[in-house]
Assembly symmetry: C2
């Protein structure tokens, strides 16, 4: 009886783009939630291991070339490596191709800027990491300071941990609220952040300065990359 | 000036145990936070790729044999594979050895039961996934229904996403609150769970039944494994 609401006939497929220097939590949050009821492909241009931001490596399951055209969800994570990925033609070309046919085109964190680089957010509202609003606007999207933004078939999350909220909302879109509610219980998502510093508004100038000292000038670098695209076009 | 509080002379090392069928989010949450200011080793008995719960694979960085004796943090994630890991002598022996010398002995989710299996939680309070309280008690620990539990040098988190709260609290122990506050801002941890179903108390019986339909009888299986240890001893 209760199982009937959980089980559904057609499994969905989520294509998750890997790249060097991605923030792995951006991807593993949504993957853990969406992986409960569908297949998650880890996509890269080859089958070689890809190093995340922390230097650890993960193995792709599928190459861009072998990725099916009819993805239910195309997903792009963020990270310090986003700017380099934006300059990688193989990545951008794959996004352009797959973004045309995927049912949902999605991202978390600076992954939204990478979607924008591929022209996939022109005229769409989107979320991104709080330190990347400038680059997101330069990419053609309208940045929205919310944790999850849904605009037609574009669904995006804010920085890093927003991927969990994003994943649960996307699961609700794909499988209904009841399934998403059970997923939230399975991952025991009843957060108790130890500090009140999760957004710049709450964190205050000293904590922002500390964070920016680690984050660096990602936003400026991505804006420069987007501007060079405009010149080349 | 503000950088002085972030930068510290001695980097710490976190040894994170991998095993087949682990829930990768249990590990990647803490790793993302702790990896900002220290080294995270991914430990396994060989250098072969290890498959997570979703079937994707990650590569160890260090074998159990090569793992340094003086870890600052020993960490164990949970997952559907915990019960098999509890029966794996190489895993349990490594935990017994490393747990004696690590400065902090830590876990998230059903990883706490694996620590208990190695005798590392006898007489300690600990947290675990809400579906694993029975097995945690059978392992010799005193289960506490909180998101993060600190008892002397044992620090444990509840289910899956509790690893993020755990990671931030542990970073505060290792590097002070100011550093942890900046880490929380970097990962934009200002959660907005879409539903009020993050714990069994809040979720209600229908959602619990749906979740248990997916989780299965993990708790009973781990209790059986712990009982067979008692007989063998």
């Amino acid at each position: 009886m209760s199982e009937a609401a959980i089980e559904t006939p057609k499994p969905y497929t989520v294509g998750m783009v890997l790249y060097p220097g991605m923030t792995f939590l951006d991807l593993v949050g949504p993957q853990t939630v969406l992986g409960l009821h569908g297949k998650t492909l880890l996509l890269w241009k080859s089958m070689e291991p890809v190093a995340t931001e922390t230097g650890n490596t993960v193995n792709p399951t599928t190459t861009f070339e072998e990725c099916p055209d009819d993805l239910d969800v195309l997903f792009v994570p963020g990270g310090y490596g986003t700017n380099d990925a934006m300059k990688d033609e193989a990545v951008v070309d794959f996004l352009k191709r797959s973004g045309k046919t995927a049912r949902y085109v999605t991202s978390v964190c600076s992954g939204s800027v990478l979607l924008g680089m591929a022209g996939l957010l022109d005229g769409y509202k989107a979320a991104t990491h709080w330190a990347c609003y400038g680059a997101l606007a330069a990419s053609g999207a309208t940045p929205v300071h919310e944790r999850v933004v849904i605009d037609r078939n574009r669904i995006s999350g804010g920085g890093v941990t927003a991927g969990i909220d994003f994943g649960l909302q996307l699961l609700a879109e794909l499988r209904g609220e009841r399934t998403a509610k059970a997923a939230q219980l399975i991952i025991e998502y009843d957060p108790e952040p130890p500090f009140a510093t999760g957004t710049p508004d709450k964190a205050g100038s000293e904590v922002i300065a500390d964070a920016m000292g680690i984050l660096g000038d990602m936003d400026d670098q991505m804006i420069a990359t987007l501007n060079s695209r405009a010149v080349a076009a």
